[in-house]
Symmetry: C2
Subunit: 280 residues, 2 copies
Amino acid sequence: MIAGIEMGGTKTVVAVGEANGSVIEEFRYPTTDGPETFATAIDWLGKRGVPSAIGVAAFGPVSVGRDRPDFGSMLATPKPGWAGFSITGALGEAFPEARVELETDVNAAALAEADGLEDLVYITIGTGIGGGVLSGGKLVHGVLHPEFGHWLPRRADGDDFAGVCPFHADCLEGMASGPAIAKRWGKEAKDLPAGHQAWEFETHYLAQAVMTLLATVNPARVVIGGGVSQAEGFHEQVEAKVREWANGYFPALDENKPFVVPPKYEQQAGIRGALLLVGQ
Amino acid sequence: MIAGIEMGGTKTVVAVGEANGSVIEEFRYPTTDGPETFATAIDWLGKRGVPSAIGVAAFGPVSVGRDRPDFGSMLATPKPGWAGFSITGALGEAFPEARVELETDVNAAALAEADGLEDLVYITIGTGIGGGVLSGGKLVHGVLHPEFGHWLPRRADGDDFAGVCPFHADCLEGMASGPAIAKRWGKEAKDLPAGHQAWEFETHYLAQAVMTLLATVNPARVVIGGGVSQAEGFHEQVEAKVREWANGYFPALDENKPFVVPPKYEQQAGIRGALLLVGQ
């Protein structure tokens, strides 16, 4: 039996499934602190058998590099009961025979959405903005893992919003996350109609994100998920700006294929990715 | 005998060397068209023996992905006598027994500068701006290879220069390459003294480039080479801006280690990287 755990900021998903990412049975419950959240997952799994392998897709910051001394642990985070919690430790104690693989939630989602591609980026826009990068068939970590929300985009014309990131004010996350939209317009993204100026700004920032990715990791596709991306025509508008700005320059932008797309697996991308981590 | 060839836009270097990247003997000559430039390299090598392996570090655009149908060839380029030229074809005909490895010049330089690191970016600022990315010990290609000069940085305060990129006007290359500096100030970078406003702008753009890399591939070090980077204090100024903007956010920015550095191997990085391609 193989298992997957997707730890999200507000909910956790634990599942038993198949090597190809298919979920056989799953349980969704609210994320609390580290020990309690994992005790629930372990209890649920234990009632179903002994997993031979467990894939974990975790929110960050989390140490995912096997050569790091803190591998498997959550790093400094304001989220209560998580800093220093060892994911691999908790699972290893409960299921000592199980192989445990750990990735960021966005990297796991990138894997789930790859669909045979070796070079793909998964961006999620919600409370924050995160990105998972699959490059040459491998998930990118770098020193820790990409923190894709925190570079400095060029402002959209007419946008004088100060930004909400406590570290960088007007970084990508500071200008284009769900809380940035809510603060700028006094409304949640889901309550802003198509054609509202908010979407002109939002698609501007995400199109810049895509340009940045084309220049750095040159993917074959960019998947954008998360609540904010569910607005009508969102992906098409981002892609139209990218194609206009790119001006024919990047061969990755095949004229005959959509480049910026919604997640194929929607809310299932994370848990499918967690299963794929141990299924491959 | 192992050999390396570094094809630059203006000069080519051919060398015999060692698996660790050391050059035993080299020849530098002006780059002309593809067939002539390679005939010279092949002739020089042939007089020294039969190489068992040849590493090539090439300017772009060049097809470096082994699964691409055009692998080994130069792609569309305005440089006369290069579009469609097959590097692997020319070398395979001359030295049918030799294993040929091909990379972009900047990826080869990243490899040479890695010095045991698995995650490092090499940026060069000259006629254009290019970047080579080593991630998890592998050189990043993506669909073709990164074209690091062509994303859209935020302007420096007070900079109203239109930019020189024929495709994107004010992309990174359009604002911060050697020709951009020359056009903006009427002087070459080497003739602009320390303290000139030019360096405030230039380090602003490169610091943004480093922020973008921290957020996407999260390297342990960024090496900046090329003529423009040789100004006094350049790397320190870029790093100071990065640390100010990053505001303690990225663990990759170790307080005790320089993060933005000049190339250790200076003009030799490309040819050393070419040798390392076949030395490993």
